[in-house]
Each structure stands twice: as structure tokens, then as C-alpha cells.
Symmetry: C2
DNA sequence: GATATATTAAACTCGATCGTTCAACATAAT
DNA sequence: ATTATGTTGAACGATCGAGTTTAATATATC
């Protein structure tokens, strides 16, 4: 065991040990839950001695809080960045929305994204304030950014939206609502097929509700990749 | 301490001690998480001695599994029962859907419902099979029941739905997608006003997408139901 | 090279918790 | 009244984990 300072432990600079600890801590916290996660395990997985953990972070609780807030920040930023690929013109709205949804979900289906979500759910009772902070750092930015994009599309006549904030929420709900079930709360891998089907269906419904220029008054906007939706 | 066998301990029948233990266990597990939940605390809250807990349930893990599956079963049954009030005729579709959504949500916003959801999220990594079982017992029934109701409404021409299963998922997502954010994962009470607004908006979008008889081609189906809806 | 700082392994303190054991007690049926 | 079963409080053994201390070592700065 003692994987101490073997050749496998590069002994890189000092600063990034903090990052290594945060990374390992996230994985261990998710796997074991806050209560059963052992600081020594975290130290081992980070390739670091236990006192080093206590040197960087005062105690277990402080480490946990930092893990959550750091992760929420990064995940939120990544999603907001993904929103950049939503064009302002209405060309191929369905395709653009599908790609956006795919990117947003890729950030949340991420090992890290699910891990954070599960951790927050898990420990929301013990750290009530923490969830609010994480939401402000992560979710809120995503919501606002998406709402802004949708509002611009609506303003140019490509979408029929009066409350962009609401529409953004509904878009996210439609497109990712099935994910917890499909992935068993992130513990099971989702097949690409199921994921694409879920996204296509969500985009489809979203456009049925908000598309400003229905190609045919009585038709669904797009046949949307006839997902068999087995189960 | 020793709140032993005072007048405060009714010493009721033997069987319902099992129920009392399950009830207390759910609350304590939710509050503390699986790892930090103390069996002794559960015993105290149930008004029962610790060995009694081990008498009814082999160990902590077995107790936990029983708590989850029991709760999922009951919550699912309650929601399915709530779906009964969705009428088959299309009279006042928006009102009926709103009431259904309200009832479904009341079962999930329930202390117990949130508790179960949070626990499953929390311990999904440690008990992977447990989540699947709970989903089968709880969520699946709800989904199927709602899909059946929607399919009947569609068949009678009141809704424009080709895949009722998908529509059911989208309805639930639209109507309850904002709840985790609003209630801070169930740790904060949601004001009735916010809840009604979220439901109304969800139903509104759902009908924009699936209503078979839009009252006006260019209008939203309902101005978000200013709804007195007592309570 | 000398000095200040960060890291390491190991051992330690201290408290908490699981699951068990046991003697006394309640309850129901015989 | 007696027997069988379930409950109770209390204490116990064993383990486990958070956080600290220490002496030695590696690194960075001067």
C-alpha cells in the first residue's frame, strides 16, 4: 500500500496539491457520503499525507464546503460557455437547441456534475446554506444566460416567448427531466441513443410550445428522430 | 435522559413498534445521512429501546433498505391515487391538469417525499440496486398511470398527443422541474404563491404544446390562471 | 550553503458508534 | 400462577475515525 513517494507520486509543485485534494475529496465524498468519507482515504487518493489535508483545509466540513462551491462554480461556468453556441438568428432552431441541450447535459451528466448534484441532495439537510450558495454560483448563471439567449431569439421573432426566464426553466426541465430516471441518479451510464431521444423529444415539445413560425398549423414542428422510447 | 417507561411511553401493541421505528428511521436518516445516523437516535425517536430495533431489523443497512422501499411504495401509491381526479372529458382541461399537478406535487413536496428523494440521491452510490427497486415501486406506477390518463384524453380528441408516455414525462418535468430550486432541495418551505405560479406556468406550457383545440391561434391558452384555488 | 516553509509517515488522543449481552420487566395465553 | 415471548435500560467490547503531534525530509529563497 503505502504509495507514499514512489515513482508513481511525481511530487509536483506545492500549489496543485490543493487541487489534487479537492479532486480526490469530491470522488470520495460522492462514493461514501459525507459521514462515511474518511479523510485518510481522501489523502491517499490525492497522493498526499493526511496532515497536508488539514494544512490546506481547516477540517472535514470546511473541505466539504470548498469542494461543493468550487465544483458548482466550475460546472456552471462550463455550461454557460456551452450556451455560446446558440446562434442569434433563427436558422435551424431545432438543430441549434438540440446542440445546446446536448452540451448543457454533457456538463451535468458529467461525473463531476452528477457527483455535485448528488452530494448537494445528500447533505442539503446538514448544510442548508451551502445549497443556496452553490445555486447562486452555478445554476443561476446558467438560467440567466439561457434566458438571455432565448429572449433575443424571441425579440427577433423566432420564438413566441413572453417570459424568457420561465421559458428557460421549461427548456431545461423538458430536456433534462428524464435524466435522473434514465441514469439511475447518475449511477448508470446512459446510452447515447436514449440520451439523444430524450433531448430530441424535449426540444420537440419546447418548439411545439414556443415556436413562432410553425411550418404547418396542424403539424408537429419536426418528426424528431423517431425514438422508439422503449420503456 | 432516561425517558424510560414513564407515562410518556404508552407501551402500545408490539406490531406497530415496527412502524414507529420505520417512521423515526426515515426522519433520522434524512436529517443525518446514512453514515452519521445513529441507531440509538432512531430508537429514541421511535420511543423504543435499541435492541428492539435490532430485533425487528437485522442491522442498520437492512433497516435503511426497508425504510426506502416502504416509503417509495407508499408515496407512489398516494400519487397514483391522486391521479384519479383527472376527468376523462375535456371540460376545463387547464383546471383539471392544474389540480392533478397540485396533488402530485403535494405528495412529492411532502416531508416524506422529499426525504425519500434526498435519501436516494444521497445513497445511490452505496446502494445502487436499491434505487432501481424504489423506482419500480414508486415512479414507474405514477408514470404509467399518468400516461394512461393522457392517452385517453388524446384518444377523445382533447389533446394532441402521439406518445403518451413521453407527454407524461414532459408534464411532470414542466410542472415540477422548478421545485428543487424553489424549495432548496426540500429544505425550505415553498410559498403557496410560488408553487401555484410554477404549476400554472407548467400547465400553460404543456397545453401550448399539446392542446388539441387552441382557443385562439395566436394566444396562449390561458393567462396563467390567476386562480384563487383556496390554500 | 543556509534558512524558512511545506510535506511526510507514524504514532497518538479522544470520542463516538455498531452490535451484543444480560438481568429485570411487561404481556398474553395456557 | 406459570410459561413463552417481546421489551427495556444499561453496560460492554471492539472498532473506527477526526484531528494533533513529532521528528525527519524535501523544496524554495536568499
Amino acid at each position: 500500500m503505502t504509495t507514499g513517494r514512489n515513482a508513481s507520486t511525481p511530487l509536483r509543485g506545492r500549489i496543485d496539491k490543493r487541487a489534487a485534494i479537492l479532486d480526490a475529496a469530491l470522488r470520495v465524498f460522492v462514493q461514501e457520503g459525507y459521514g462515511l468519507a474518511r479523510v485518510e482515504t481522501i489523502a491517499e487518493r490525492a497522493g498526499v499525507a493526511k496532515p497536508t489535508v488539514y494544512n490546506h483545509f481547516r477540517d472535514k466540513e470546511n473541505l466539504f464546503r470548498t469542494v461543493i462551491l468550487d465544483g458548482a462554480q466550475r460546472t456552471g461556468d462550463r455550461i454557460v460557455a456551452a450556451l455560446d453556441l446558440l446562434p442569434d438568428d433563427g436558422a435551424d432552431l431545432a438543430g441549434a437547441l438540440t446542440r445546446v441541450a446536448r452540451n448543457v447535459i454533457d456538463c451535468q451528466l458529467n461525473d463531476e456534475g452528477w457527483a455535485l448534484q448528488r452530494l448537494m441532495y445528500a447533505e442539503a439537510a446538514r448544510f442548508p446554506d451551502l445549497f443556496d450558495d452553490a445555486l447562486r454560483l452555478g445554476g443561476a448563471h446558467v438560467h440567466i444566460a439561457l434566458a438571455g439567449r432565448l429572449a433575443r431569439l424571441a425579440h427577433r421573432g423566432h420564438l413566441d416567448i413572453d417570459d424568457a426566464d420561465l421559458a428557460a426553466g421549461h427548456f431545461l426541465a423538458l430536456v433534462s427531466g428524464d435524466l435522473p430516471t434514465l441514469s439511475a441518479l447518475g449511477t448508470r451510464a446512459v446510452t447515447d441513443h436514449d440520451l439523444q431521444a430524450a433531448i430530441a423529444a424535449g426540444v420537440n415539445t419546447f418548439l411545439r410550445a414556443f415556436n413562432a413560425t410553425p411550418p404547418d398549423p396542424n403539424r408537429r414542428p419536426a418528426p424528431t428522430t423517431r425514438a422508439s422510447t422503449s420503456r
